[in-house]
């Protein structure tokens, strides 16, 4: 079952297209990473899906509710962490959360209970009566996350949840996101931190005005650069170039100093045969490792590829 189903969602501001023909399905209980450069249309997409602004065309089902027709139900079913925490500095942490809990329809004891639950969960209970204006950036971000979860939403939109946080605070937030997933919530995570996306997301979508690619982080890496093996030998790897090339299952070989990079379509099965052939030919194998590419390389490859295909080379900036 999908928590979010988007079909050809488009948003135009005047003559500028912010989001174009976005079609996507996000399974319930998964973490979806929405990656893209600044001004790519990510915030506009989140705002549309959270029923804050209307799409120009296209449709979407969010938590089973139809965008445009059941906006109030959508707002009740989703939680959103906006780009900036947006907290009332003069009110205490508890007062901030109570205000939002009540607006989400929680009453009396239920509201108090939820506020306590999330303040404790995010280690803010001891500071509950302190004014938020005196909180550190990390504490403010945690409080904003708590606010997004008070009403136990099915779908949570997190826009740059670890942006500007110190490593310790960022780790706490990441652990919390992982906990949310284990509770079965669907998380739509907008981030520039590709390591974070790699660590947390079941699926990632690379986006710039339109969706460039969507897959699991692992499949994206393979899909972009293919699979293969790096064999490091004693001496110049160039000596064993022909040996490798002669093998029928090898897709391509490159030698560089002591490394032989071999492209394979099924390394798990083909590696033993490759290594046996090299050793038989006299190579002294020191290490064998899988070709690895980071999500960052995949992301930059996709974004650069799209930028090059744009006729005017201009990148559209999203209106904030």
């Amino acid at each position: 079952m999908n928590a979010i189903e988007i079909s050809r969602l488009t948003r135009v501001f005047g003559e500028r297209v912010a989001v174009q023909d976005l079609t996507l399905a996000i399974p319930a209980g998964s973490v979806f990473g929405f990656l893209g450069p600044n001004g790519a249309g990510k915030t506009t997409t989140v705002r549309m899906l959270a029923a804050l602004i209307a799409p120009s065309s296209g449709s979407a089902l969010v938590a089973g509710h139809e965008l445009g027709k059941e906006n109030e139900q959508i707002r009740r079913a989703v939680g959103i962490l906006t780009e900036t925490p947006g907290l009332y500095d003069r009110l205490s942490a508890r007062q901030n959360l109570l205000f939002f809990a009540r607006l989400y329809g929680l009453d009396g004891q239920k509201a108090e209970g939820q506020v306590e639950r999330y303040l404790r969960m995010l280690d803010l209970w001891e500071r509950r009566n302190d004014r938020v204006g005196g909180f550190s950036k990390g504490m403010r971000q945690k409080l904003a996350i708590a606010r997004a979860l008070l009403h136990e939403p099915e779908v949570v939109f997190l826009d740059e949840p670890t942006s500007g946080l110190d490593p310790e605070a960022a780790r706490t937030v990441r652990q919390f996101i992982a906990e949310l997933r284990s509770e079965g919530r669907t998380i739509f995570l907008t981030t520039h931190n590709l390591h974070e996306a790699d660590e947390l997301c079941d699926q990632v979508g690379v986006f710039r005005t339109r969706l460039l690619r969507v897959d699991t982080p692992a499949n994206l890496r393979v899909g972009m650069f293919g699979r293969g093996t790096v064999v490091r030998v004693v001496g110049e790897a160039e000596h064993w170039l022909e040996t490798a090339r002669a093998l029928p299952f090898v897709g391509g070989v490159v030698a560089n100093k002591d490394s032989l990079t071999v492209r394979l379509n099924d390394p798990d099965y083909q590696n033993p045969m490759l290594i046996r052939a090299l050793i038989t030919a006299g190579a002294q194998v020191r290490y064998v490792e899988a070709i690895s590419h980071s999500l960052e390389e995949v992301y930059l490859g996709l974004i650069d590829g799209q930028a090059q295909t744009k006729p005017d080379g201009q990148l559209q900036e999203e209106r904030k």
Partner: protein, 262 residues
Amino acid sequence: MRNVLIVLKKEWLEITRQRSLLLGVTLPPLIFSLLPIVLMIITGKVPVAATRINTISALPIPSLAHLSPDELAQGVVALQFSVLYLILPVIIPSVIAAYSIVGEKSNRTLEPLLATPVKTWELLVGKCIAAILPAVIATWLSGVIFIGALSTFSISPRVFTAVVTPGWLVALFLWTPVISLLAVAFMTAVSARVNDPRTAEQFSAWFVVPFLILFLGQMFGIIVLGIFFSLLALLVLIVLTFAAFWVVTRLFQREVILTRWK
């Protein structure tokens, strides 16, 4: 209605936590309540110099034409003061609305707020009530204190009846909520274009101009705050308020706030 009360409660909680805002809201009514008492006592006890009597008598104020020179001196002070009360429903809601709406925008709290199921009209009504209720209560209270001071310290009942006219009473009690609403509508419209509460407050200063015209108009006898004038002005104010809220309800929509507000 539940959400309106939630918003209202939060607004007042915030107001009570801002010293400068509290000062801006409480100081003008406090001054406007104490000053007339002091002035009524002074003008009632200290005889007016002959040269000043001539100057005051030269003021063409029809409603005070029948007063004696000493009554006239007190009447002029009281009459001008009576108009100042009509500025309170401009000042107080403008100060509150500037912080309540522009402040919300500059602190970036509007988007999380709009992401909740609250309806935009509930938000607007909550903020309006939070801004106009203190203004209406403070103005009415100050006005009642003024009436009490005038009845206690006026030289003669003729001064009292010359100042506390049916026209002025209509202005004090009926104009006040309408002017407050108009001021909030004006500030909401300003909020769409400015990002700083102080800038918004500066815009609200222009709103005082019609009341200065009324003040000067009365002083020079051009305007007489009679019952007909007051009721006609009330009608105009109501029409203006409806028109202003027609514009404001279109400005205060999720889509417009998030995509068109600067």
